[in-house]
């Protein structure tokens, strides 16, 4: 993918330049996002979906353990993470981020296959800003991201 090349979105089809494929909430398209998942195929899918929404400034990590130091030094504006990961789980990562003085207000979206009610409630109580269950659609991802930043602004 070369920089500046416009890609069609999964939602509206090719070639449309109308406002529909842009987010309703005015967000900084240069927002720095960290994508954390132990499966590289899922990281790639999320990266592509974010790019379709206009976010090209993305980094990846394959575990909570590798993500946490990146978050501490990397000045990220948004974290998208899975739950189940072999080293440090997304849930533990969430708690660690909320416990860090410099990171506690970082917007966090969980994208995960974990669907037990107790888990969803635990994540919400630990301070997650949004929770998306797999399999998900591009529309759901877009909606949840908008909702998170709507609340913040």
């Amino acid at each position: 993918m070369r920089a500046g090349q416009r890609l069609p979105t999964a939602l509206t089809g090719p070639g449309q330049h109308s406002g529909e494929d842009q987010l309703e909430v005015p967000l900084d398209k240069n927002m720095k996002i960290l994508i954390v998942d132990d499966f590289s195929t899922m990281r790639r899918i999320i990266k592509n979906l974010l790019r379709d929404l206009g976010f090209t400034n993305t980094d990846e990590a394959d575990d909570g353990n590798t993500a946490l130091p990146m978050l501490k030094t990397g000045k990220y504006d948004f974290l998208v993470t899975d739950w189940n990961m072999p080293g440090m789980s997304g849930f533990d990562l969430l708690k660690a981020v909320r416990a860090d003085e410099n990171l506690k207000d970082l917007p966090i979206l969980m994208v995960t296959a974990e669907a037990k009610r107790d888990q969803i409630v635990a994540a919400a109580q630990a301070g997650v800003n949004g929770y998306v269950v797999k399999p998900f659609t591009a529309a759901v991802l877009k909606e949840k991201i908008e909702k998170i930043f709507e609340r913040i602004q």
Partner: protein, 260 residues
């Protein structure tokens, strides 16, 4: 006949009827005050227990031995031997599935990322040409512009044919990339069969072990209940469980009902 007894939940009927007999006799002797006879009976009861204990442990050991032997899959011919030696372990097989599905997903995404910009470009060109064509039809176009349009349309048809062909190739390759499903399906079925076999063997071992427990009067502590927030991975029968949500709508409802 002893095979049937191995799988029943209780002890050998021979043993239980002897136990009943001797227990009754013991009670009679004690009530009659014949303590010497009672003690002898207790010894006899003990012997019955010991004998059955040895029998059950013997069965257990033999079955354990059988089970271990059964886990070795015997290849039928040299080709199978070779195949098995490449992926003989169940976890190797499943790792293979993970790799194959990962490769197929990445290959498909590569092809999609190749095709999408081409589709987009085609669409934009077609729209731009259509807009100019409409102007021409409304006689809003100067002759020099028309000559330019003429050339653009010509070039467009050429590139359209070219691009469409390339896209068709991409789509065919995407179709082929789905071939992993057949191979991974076969491997998974083999692992499922292996797991069933292991499960059956373990089950009969557990039943025998419980016989031994009964004979020695051993009671096991129950394992601590697992944490309710431990991850279980993707849910397959969400509709049948009340502690699991069935989709994004359920998640949203749950969170908003709690004020999140």
């Amino acid at each position: 006949m002893s095979e049937d007894k191995q799988n029943s939940p209780g002890l050998d009927p021979e043993i239980t009827s002897k136990l009943k007999e001797q227990a009754q006799a013991l009670v009679e002797q004690v009530n009659a005050g014949d303590y010497a006879r009672a003690m002898t009976l207790i010894n006899d009861l003990s012997e019955v227990r010991d004998q059955s204990l040895y029998q059950e442990v013997g069965r257990l050991t033999r079955s354990l031995h059988e089970a271990i032997r059964n886990f070795q899959i015997q290849p039928q011919n040299p080709e199978q031997q070779e195949a098995l030696s490449k992926m003989s372990d169940a976890s190797d097989r499943l790792q293979y599935v993970v790799e194959m599905t990962g490769k197929a997903a990445n290959r498909t995404m590569d092809l999609v990322e190749d095709a999408m910009p081409r589709a987009n470009a085609m669409c934009e060109q077609a729209r731009s040409l259509r807009d100019d064509w409409q102007r021409l039809r409304r006689r809003e176009m100067a002759p020099s512009e028309f000559r330019e349009l003429y050339g653009r349309i010509d070039r467009f048809f050429e590139s359209l044919a070219d691009d469409a062909e390339k896209m068709y190739t991409d789509l065919s390759e995407i179709l082929l990339a789905q071939d992993f499903q057949d191979l991974t399906g076969q491997v998974i079925q083999k692992v499922t069969a292996l797991v069933k076999e292991v499960e059956e063997n373990l089950l009969s071992l557990v039943v025998m072990a419980s016989h031994v427990d009964q004979l020695t009067g051993t009671v096991h502590e129950l394992k601590e209940k697992e944490s309710s927030i431990k991850g279980e991975g993707p849910q397959m029968r969400a509709a049948e469980r009340s502690d699991v949500v069935s989709g994004q709508d359920d998640v949203d409802d749950l969170l908003s009902s709690l004020g999140f």
